[in-house]
């Protein structure tokens, strides 16, 4: 049975399939495993960060710091691997604990000082970007045999597509994210918090713990995305991934999660990422369209999906309570 809450997710999946079919009918070579594999590899870091963003947005918050945290992670890894003899795995563990702590600190400030997530994570965005600058303003290359080893891990599919480790990490992150959202106590608490902090508190949801964990998760996943991004580019650059937080938010919204919080799907975000990647791939295949059309098309898509959600919520609430809801923002 199809519930109305699942409709945005279905529409997102359908949009992706129709768009992919249309692209494929125009450029048959887009249907190869090569393109699919690249779609996963190129958007791996964005996908990972979008999983964290989905949790944050379902809880009714927002995390503007993720783009800066990715850049910080990249620069941190590059500088540590250049200046010390630390093994990359140890550096990964170190940077992940740093980013988790960073996210947790933001969550604690949001909860205990009662400040809007928007402003706190905005300050976090400045701080993380600033720390990346302090470490290095140049692009630092990463040359380590372990990196070469990780980059050489791929499965060559028939047709020439290379499914790399980073793509697999993204898929695993989505899988774990889906299980966490729908099958754990933490996930239920996140949904409850998004439905209304006051109600959640009365239901016995530990608000402080949940808020801190949500932002710690988002920070940690941004750190993981930073590791994946450094594998992707083999360098750390403090000016990299500017504005990724916006792409992640857009993917989450296109994936059918309400920015008001309370409803949403991690799986929807996955298709949101694929749709955005598809637009870029199409523009590359077309060759005559300029890159700025990406932004305009994504903006248009955002608008269309927001209207769809609005129509759905209106249709479902108007039937049930015709008078009382007329002015809810």
């Amino acid at each position: 049975m199809i519930r109305s809450t699942h409709l945005p997710l279905l529409v997102t999946v359908l949009t992706f399939l129709v768009a992919f079919a249309l692209c494929g009918s125009q450029y048959p070579s887009m249907l190869t495993t090569r393109v699919v594999a690249n779609l996963l590899t190129d958007n791996a870091f964005l996908g990972i960060v979008a999983v964290g963003m989905t949790f944050v947005i379902i809880s009714g918050g927002i995390d503007l710091s993720v783009g800066s945290v990715i850049a910080f992670t990249g620069v941190f890894l590059a500088v540590v691997l250049r200046d010390t003899s630390l093994h990359p795995l140890a550096a990964f563990a170190l940077v992940l604990s740093l980013t988790v702590a960073f996210g947790a600190a933001m969550g604690a400030i949001i909860h205990y000082l009662d400040m809007p997530a928007f402003i706190v994570t905005l300050a976090g965005m400045f701080l993380a970007r600033g720390l990346a600058y302090v470490l290095s303003t140049d692009s630092v290359p990463i040359t380590h045999e372990f990196y070469d080893f990780l980059q050489s891990l791929y499965w060559k599919a028939p047709g020439g597509g290379r499914f790399r480790l980073t793509g697999v990490i993204m898929l695993l992150t989505f899988l774990i994210g889906m299980i966490m959202a729908h099958r754990t106590r933490f996930g239920q608490n996140v949904y409850a918090l998004g439905g209304g902090a006051q109600t959640a508190k009365l239901m016995g949801v530990p608000l402080a713990q949940t808020t801190i964990r949500i932002y710690a998760l988002s920070g940690g996943l941004a750190g993981l995305a930073g590791i994946v991004f450094s594998l992707y580019t083999s360098a750390g650059y403090s000016l990299a991934t500017v504005g990724v937080e916006l792409d992640a938010i857009a993917a989450v919204v296109i994936g059918g999660t309400l920015l008001t919080g309370g409803t949403g799907f991690v799986a929807g975000t996955f298709f949101g990422i694929l749709i955005m990647g598809l637009i870029q791939t199409y523009i590359v295949f077309d060759g005559t369209l300029s890159s700025w059309w990406t932004k305009i098309v994504i903006g248009g898509l955002l608008f269309a999906f927001i209207l769809l959600q609005k129509g759905l919520t209106w249709a479902t609430t108007a039937r049930r309570k015709p008078l009382t809801d007329f002015a809810a923002p």
């Binding site: 905005l122 400045f126 600058y133 302090v134 919204v253 932004k295 994504i298 927001i306 609005k310």
Partner: protein
């Protein structure tokens, strides 16, 4: 009148104190900070620079204050700046005068404001999402106008708006102070400001009370678009070119920050444009102190972030509440116990 002035002064006192502290820091790292000279028919000095460089943020936060007072937010202002700058540059390059270019840019800004306003007021989309659409698509539209290049121009009239002076004072300063004064008087000498606050506090009841909230909501987004357009023209005129990628980049965040430092709640309600403008000056003074201190530029963002976090923590409801209790208990020790019992403070709900 005198009473109203005193109330305003009390409202903006924290911001004035913070501004004074940051300006004092400027003076400590650079003793000539307050020196203002008159050379080549214009005022020169670091203090003048703070006012001049702060113009785009100050202009944006005039509109942003009104939008935030209605419990909204306008993320698109940076992108609108890029579109307006591109429009003005395009018109001037095509041979039109600077007046036409300015009117063109303002009309485009108003159109963007109308778009946001209609989404928020009539389609009832959450403001942060509604304005996100234009924030994402806006830079693409600006690049469409400039065709991906940085459109440079040499029109004296247009350049004057960003880099010229009137009676020795840089034009941007006059524009933001003038516009700020007009909007402040417009909302405070009439009932408009109170109606805007009513929407922010509770839209449903404001409508029941007979306020046409839809028209007012569209109007505040129009004002925001208008301010963003002027800011965009000033930024383009300042560099004699329209850069669709970088004009106004992240300025929406600075503007929102200025409004928050100005002590306005992101949850809507009571607002003070004057306090927001001082907030914009605080941000610019922070930038200035970092530059003048001669620290390596790599540290700029970290220091800015730390100063902002400090300001925000001081202003957060929890800390304010704790200070209130501290002060009340200190006072109550001197009073009789019966009186002290009445002094138990109510918890503040908004900043």
């Amino acid at each position: 009148m005198v009473h109203g002035f005193q109330a305003t002064l009390r409202r903006i006192a924290p911001q004035l104190i913070i501004l004074a502290v940051v300006l004092l820091l400027n003076f400590l790292v650079f003793p000539d900070f307050f020196k203002i000279e008159f050379q080549n028919d214009r005022l020169f000095g670091n203090l003048v620079d703070v006012f001049n460089r702060g113009a785009p943020t100050a202009l944006l936060c005039i509109g942003m204050t009104l939008v935030i007072a209605t419990k909204g937010i306008d993320l698109s202002v940076g992108a609108v700046m890029a579109i307006a700058g591109a429009t003005a540059a395009d018109l001037v390059v095509s041979g039109y005068g600077w007046g036409t270019a300015l009117i063109g840019a303002i009309s485009v800004g108003l159109m963007c404001g109308l778009w946001n306003g209609v989404l928020v007021a009539f389609l009832r989309i959450q403001p942060i999402v509604a304005t996100l659409v234009l924030m994402v698509a806006g830079r693409g539209i600006a690049q469409l106008i400039t065709e991906g290049t940085i459109l440079t121009f040499l029109n004296e009239g247009l350049i004057h708006l960003g880099a010229g002076t009137v009676l020795g004072i840089p034009t941007p300063i006059l524009i933001w102070i003038g516009l700020g004064a007009i909007v402040t008087l417009g909302v405070r000498r009439t009932a408009l400001g109170m109606l805007v606050e009513a929407i922010g506090i509770n839209e449903a009841s404001s409508r029941v009370a007979g306020i046409n909230s839809r028209v007012l909501l569209v109007s505040v987004y129009l004002v925001s678009g208008f301010c963003a357009a002027i800011a965009g023209v000033i930024v383009a005129a300042d560099i004699k070119g329209a850069d669709a990628n970088n004009a106004g980049l992240w300025l929406e965040l600075d503007a929102i920050l200025a409004v928050v430092i100005g002590g306005n709640s992101l949850l809507g309600g009571r607002f003070s444009i004057t306090a927001s403008l001082i907030g914009a000056l605080i941000i610019q003074s922070v930038n200035s102190v970092i530059l003048l201190s001669g620290l390596p530029p790599e540290f700029n963002l970290v220091i800015k972030a730390l100063i902002i976090i400090a300001i925000l923590v001081i202003q957060s409801p929890t800390v304010k509440h704790a200070l209130y209790i501290l002060r009340a208990s200190a006072e109550s020790e001197a009073l009789e116990p019966a009186r002290a019992a009445q002094l138990t403070p109510p918890k503040e709900t908004a900043q």
